[in-house]
Symmetry: C2
Subunit: 113 residues, 2 copies
């Protein structure tokens, strides 16, 4: 997300975009069909409003997410993955698999909307 690239390494550059504790949780929520600010805030991890706002701006800037007028709440914005954002799914999947296998007590608790 930053303009200063740490190296040309694909891992470093990808972590510059998604390497934090929250970004991929917002992506997860969108994969599960959540699209409104309020819905992201309701996820069990309790993301703070300022962190959520920051990550949404960065994700839009990175071309991974797009804002559109909500068709449920008039006058509100909603967010969804772009085609590029959808390509993050294999990363999410590898992380889900790893977590389920290696972190005791994890389970798929959030259901799609």
């Amino acid at each position: 997300m930053s303009n200063r690239r740490r190296s040309p390494c694909p891992i470093a550059c990808t972590l510059d975009i998604i390497g934090d504790k929250w970004t991929l949780l917002v992506i997860r929520d969108m994969v599960l069909g959540r699209s409104h600010y309020k819905e992201f805030l309701e996820s069990p991890e309790g993301i703070a409003t300022n962190i959520l706002a920051d990550r949404l701006v960065k994700l839009v800037d990175a071309g991974l997410v797009e804002k559109y007028p909500s068709d449920i709440v008039p006058g509100r914005d909603a967010y969804r993955l772009t085609k590029k954002g959808e390509t993050l799914r294999p990363i999410l999947k590898s992380i889900v698999r790893w977590g389920l296998k290696n972190v005791d007590g994890t389970y798929i608790g959030l259901s799609p909307r």
Copy 2:
């Protein structure tokens, strides 16, 4: 890494361990055969000594990395992936693939030792 789990979500719990800009770069270095503190510091991203020290402690605590006496530099510690740490490879691989495809100008520059 923290004792406070944000949710039982496998993504959230995995990000609690590897969700930052540096941890997976240290893992990458170990996958590429680097094992000494000095070698990690020499990677092109320029990890700071305090961040490196912090991440190594956390990775050892999480059972992903183990410390062993260096067989090259007498009296020094070296670090390597445990069997559990090796299971992070598919996550790394999915990130490498995504970066190469989606971030312009990235390439595999570090060679294995």
